[in-house]
C-alpha cells in the first residue's frame, strides 16, 4: 500500500517543489494543503503516514496544526517534518518542543530532502 504524505505550505511553489521531489518515490502518494485548516481535513479520512508542514502560515500555523494532529488518538505517534526558514535557534527549539520528528531548513537540497523522508518513513 502506498504511504500517504500531506504537505502543508501557504507558498504554492514550495508545495509544488516538495511534490515534484516526492513524486519520484513510487511508494508515496503526496497531497498538498494550503494551510492548517485544509490539512486537518485530510486527517479525518484515510490514514495519513507523514505530515510535512511549514512553520509560519496564515489561519493556522504549523505549531497549532501539529498540536491538533498529535491530539488525535490515531496520530499521537505520527512522524512529522517541520519546514522552516527560521534560523533563530530559539524558535527551532520551540519546534522541537512541540514534538516534531525533525525539521528541514528552507531552501533545502533535493537529495537530502528525499533521504530524510525515506528515513522517516522507513523505506529501504
Amino acid at each position: 500500500m502506498k504511504k500517504k504524505v500531506i504537505v502543508v505550505d501557504d507558498f504554492e511553489n514550495t508545495r509544488w517543489i516538495v511534490q515534484q521531489i516526492l513524486q519520484k518515490e513510487p511508494e508515496l502518494d503526496v497531497l498538498g494543503a494550503e494551510n492548517g485548516v485544509e490539512a486537518l481535513k485530510f486527517f479525518n479520512g484515510e490514514p495519513v503516514d507523514l505530515l510535512i508542514t511549514d512553520l509560519n502560515m496564515p489561519q493556522m500555523d504549523g505549531i497549532e496544526l501539529v498540536a491538533k494532529v498529535r491530539a488525535m488518538d490515531k496520530y499521537r505517534f505520527i512522524p512529522i517534518i517541520m519546514l522552516t526558514t527560521e534560523r533563530n535557534p530559539e524558535k527551532k527549539q520551540k519546534a522541537l518542543d512541540i514534538k516534531v520528528t525533525t525539521w528541514i531548513q528552507k531552501p533545502f537540497e533535493q537529495g537530502q530532502f528525499r533521504k530524510i523522508v525515506r528515513k522517516v518513513l522507513r523505506l529501504k
Binding site: R70, F77, I78, I80, L96, V100, T101, I116, K119, R122
Partner: protein
C-alpha cells in the same frame, strides 16, 4: 518497558521455533550445512539483541554457545548426540527465560550452569588441540581497529515526536557490527510510570563505519544531547572519559574490562569476515507446500488485538443487522426489505471474511508435538516415528492455542502407554519403530484432528474392570465397546497402573475432554487390541458465531446449538425420565425442572433429540421459534462456571437469550442422578 521485552520475546520465540525445527531435521536426516548455518545464525541474532533488550541471562548464555555452533559451521566440530541434546536444552532454557522476563529460578540456574559447563568443556577440548594462535593474530589487528562508543539516551518524549527509538539498531546492523547493553537505571518506579514516556537508554559499541558522519546519519532524528559518540581503539579503551561508569553499568551483565575487550575483538572479526548478513526474511517453515505458499502470497503482520477488535465490530454489525431485518419485516415495505436483504448478504460475507483472518494453520503445533515425541521416546527407551498430515488445515487462532494442551496430553499418552518398547514390538512381529500419526482435515463446518498410534490398543475388558473397581459402572452392567472406551474420559479414571513421571501428573483424559468441550468440540476414541488406538477431536472453525435453534422454556429464551440436534419431536408417552425414540429408550433431560424447580413436566409439548458422544437425549422445551445465528458473548464473571449455560446472545429485538451448553448440561444431569 514490558513492551520492549515483549517485542524481543515474540521475535526470539519465532527464531527458537526455527532453531528447533532445524534441530529435529538434523536429527532425522543427518548432517546438513544449511541447517547448521541457520542454527548458528539464530543464536547469533539472539545473542546480538538479547542484552539490548535487557535479557542479561540469555545474552550470557548465547554468548558462549555461539562459539560452539561457529565451530560446527566451520567443520571443526561434529553435531553429535551430546550436542543435539545440549541444543534442545538450550532451546528450553531460553524459552523459559523469555517467559519469565529473564528471571532465573534456582532450578533454571542449575540447568543453565550445567549447559555452560558442557559448553566450556567442549570448547576447552577444542582449544587444547591447538587453535588459538589465530585468535591472537586477530586480536593484534583488532587493537588498531576504530570503535565507536555511543551513549544513547532518547528524551522522554521521543515516542511523541513520531520516532521509533529501536530503528537505530536496524541501521547500525546494516552499517557494521554492534553490541548494545540496555541501561535500566532510568526507568522510574511504577507510580511515576507514564506509558507514553520513554525511559530506556543504551551503551552501544559499534565498529565498521568509516567515519563519524555515518553514525550521525543513523541518529539523524535525535538531538545532540540524546546520543554522544566517542571513537577509540582497543589499545586506548581505558582512556574513554567515562570508562569507569560504563564498566559499572556493564557489571549487571557480568562483563568486566577483559570480557568487554574480548567481545569487541569478536565484533571486529565478525565485521571483517563480512559476516553473512541476515537475509531479509528467513523463510520459516519447511514442508514444501508451506514454503510455496509463503513465496506466492504477500503477507502482512497484524497485531492480534486489532483482529479481535475487528471481530467485535463485525459481531456488533451482525447483531444490528438482525435487528434491522426484524424491524423491516414488521414494516413490510418491499423496497426496504430488499435492501435490508442485500445488506444482510453483505454483512454475512463481511463476517466470513473477518473470521477467516483469524484462522491460522495447525502447523504451529507441529514442532512442539515433534519435540515431545522425540524427548519422551528417548526418555522411555522407545522408538517412535512421528508423521503429520494436513497441518496446513486452518483453525481460529484462539482454538489452536487452546488445543496445544489437550493434543500434547494425548500424544504423551500414546507414547507412554500405547507404544511398546522395541523388544516387545519385535516379539509381536511389529516393526521396531512405532508410529504416531497426527492428521487434520476439514469436514462440513468442522475441523477433525486424529491422533493415531500403532501401539498395543485399549482392552475394553480391562477398562470395564477398572471402571467397576473405581465405582464408575455397576457390576454386570452391559456396555458396548464404544461405551467402554468412553469411560477413559471419566474423571477419576486412569488406565496407568503406576504413576509415571510422564503421564501421571494427576490430570487424566477427563481434563482433555473438558478442555475440548469448552471449545464446543468433542473428543472420541476407537481402539483395536494389539493394533493401535485413534483419538478423534472434532472442533468448530470458530468460537464467536454459532448456528442455534431458538426456543422458549418457562419464559426464558434459550438457544440450543444446532450441531447437536438430530430431530425435534412431540412428547407423547414415556415417563418423566425416559422416552422412546426410533425404537430406542433414551433419557430425558427435564429443562423445565432445571430452569424452574416448581415446574411440572406435563406441560412440555416439545422435545429436542440431541446426540452427544453417540448417546441420545431428549430435552424438553415449550416452543421452537426459529433458527438463529448467534454471536456468542460471555455470560460474565459471576456465571463463568454456570452448570449448563456458557454464553448469551443479543437477539433481533435487542433482548438477550441464553446459550445452552450441551456438554455441560449432560454432565450436570449425570451428576444430578448420581
Amino acid at each position: 518497558m514490558d513492551d520492549i521485552k515483549a517485542r524481543f520475546s515474540t521475535e526470539a520465540n519465532e527464531l527458537l521455533e526455527l532453531f528447533e525445527r532445524r534441530l529435529l531435521e538434523l536429527e532425522k536426516q543427518g548432517q546438513s550445512s544449511e541447517a547448521v548455518a541457520e542454527i548458528f545464525r539464530v543464536i547469533h541474532t539472539i545473542k546480538g539483541t538479547a542484552s539490548m533488550f535487557g535479557f542479561v541471562n540469555i545474552g550470557k548464555l548465547t554468548h558462549d554457545v555461539e562459539d560452539i555452533y561457529d565451530l560446527v559451521r566451520e567443520g571443526h566440530m561434529t553435531f553429535d548426540k551430546e550436542l543435539m541434546d545440549l541444543s534442545f536444552k538450550i532451546v528450553d532454557i531460553i524459552r523459559e527465560l523469555l517467559k519469565t522476563g529473564d528471571e532465573l529460578s534456582s532450578d533454571d540456574e542449575a540447568k543453565m550452569s550445567a549447559i555452560l559447563d558442557t559448553v566450556h568443556q567442549r570448547l576447552q577440548n577444542r582449544e587444547e588441540s591447538g587453535h588459538h594462535e589465530i585468535e591472537d593474530q586477530n586480536s593484534e589487528v583488532a587493537e588498531q581497529k576504530a570503535y565507536y562508543y555511543i551513549r544513547y539516551q532518547p528524551d522522554k518524549d521521543v515516542l511523541e515526536r513520531g520516532i521509533d527509538p529501536l530503528v537505530v539498531f536496524e541501521e547500525l546492523e546494516e552499517e557494521g557490527e554492534f553490541l548494545a547493553y540496555l541501561d535500566l537505571n532510568l526507568v522510574p518506579s511504577l507510580t511515576h510510570f507514564e506509558p507514553d514516556e520513554f525511559f530506556l537508554a543504551w551503551d552501544i559499541f559499534f565498529t565498521g563505519a568509516a567515519n563519524t558522519e555515518l553514525v550521525d546519519d543513523v541518529f539523524m532524528f535525535f538531538l545532540s544531547h540524546e546520543y554522544q559518540v566517542q571513537t577509540f581503539t582497543l589499545a586506548e579503551i581505558e582512556s574513554l572519559p567515562n570508562f569507569g561508569d560504563i564498566l559499572k553499568k556493564l557489571s549487571l551483565y557480568q562483563i568486566d574490562n577483559n570480557i568487554l575487550v574480548q567481545n569487541l575483538i569478536k565484533l571486529s572479526k565478525a565485521c571483517d569476515a563480512g559476516e553473512d548478513k541476515e537475509e531479509p526474511e528467513p523463510v520459516v517453515g519447511e514442508s514444501p507446500e508451506k514454503s510455496m505458499v509463503a513465496d506466492a502470497t504477500e503477507t502482512i503482520r497484524v497485531e492480534a488485538s486489532k483482529l479481535d477488535e475487528l471481530i467485535n465490530l463485525v459481531s456488533d454489525l451482525v447483531t444490528i443487522n438482525g435487528q434491522l431485518e426484524m424491524k423491516s419485516e414488521q414494516i413490510a415495505d418491499y423496497q426496504l426489505e430488499k435492501q435490508v436483504m442485500e445488506l444482510s448478504k453483505l454483512a454475512k460475507r463481511f463476517r466470513d471474511n473477518a473470521l477467516n483472518l483469524r484462522l491460522v494453520p495447525i502447523e504451529l503445533l507441529a514442532v512442539k508435538m515433534q519435540r515431545l515425541v522425540r524427548d519422551l521416546s528417548n526418555e522411555l527407551g522407545k522408538k517412535t516415528d512421528f508423521i503429520t498430515e494436513g497441518t496446513n488445515t486452518e483453525l481460529d487462532k484462539s482454538i489452536v492455542s487452546r488445543l496445544e494442551g489437550p493434543v500434547l496430553h494425548i500424544i504423551r499418552n500414546c507414547i507412554d502407554h500405547a507404544i511398546e518398547t522395541p523388544e516387545e514390538r519385535l516379539r509381536q512381529n511389529k516393526p521396531e519403530q512405532g508410529v504416531v500419526r497426527f492428521i487434520a482435515f476439514y469436514s462440513g463446518g468442522n475441523v477433525f484432528i486424529q491422533i493415531q498410534d500403532d501401539g498395543k490398543g485399549i482392552d475394553p475388558e480391562r477398562v470395564k474392570n477398572k471402571a467397576i473397581e473405581k465405582g464408575l459402572i455397576h457390576h454386570g452392567e452391559s456396555l458396548t465397546n464404544a461405551e467402554a472406551y468412553n469411560l477413559i474420559f471419566e474423571p477419576g479414571f486412569s488406565t496407568a497402573e503406576k504413576v509415571s513421571n510422564v503421564s501421571g501428573r494427576g490430570v487424566g483424559l477427563d481434563s482433555v475432554r473438558k478442555e475440548i468441550a469448552d471449545m464446543r468440540g468433542q473428543v472420541d476414541v476407537e481402539s483395536e487390541v494389539g493394533l493401535g488406538t485413534s483419538f478423534t477431536i472434532k472442533l468448530p472453525l470458530t468460537l464467536s458465531i454459532i448456528d442455534t435453534l431458538q426456543t422458549t422454556i418457562v419464559g426464558h429464551t434459550v438457544l440450543v446449538p444446532m450441531e447437536f440436534i438430530i430431530k425435534t419431536e412431540r412428547l407423547n408417552g414415556g415417563n418423566s425420565r425416559h422416552m422412546s425414540f426410533e425404537g430406542e429408550i433414551i433419557p430425558i433431560i427435564d429443562l423445565h425442572k432445571l430452569l424452574d424447580e416448581k415446574n411440572e413436566l406435563a406441560k412440555a409439548p416439545k422435545v429436542l433429540i440431541i446426540k452427544l458422544y453417540n448417546r441420545k437425549y431428549g430435552i424438553t422445551v415449550d416452543r421452537i421459534v426459529r433458527n438463529h445465528q448467534a454471536v456468542v458473548k460471555p455470560l460474565g464473571v459471576y456465571n463463568r462456571h454456570h452448570p449448563f449455560f456458557s454464553g448469551s446472545s443479543i437477539m433481533g429485538d435487542g433482548s438477550l437469550a441464553l446459550i445452552l451448553d450441551i456438554n455441560r448440561l449432560v454432565k450436570h444431569q449425570k451428576e444430578d442422578i448420581l
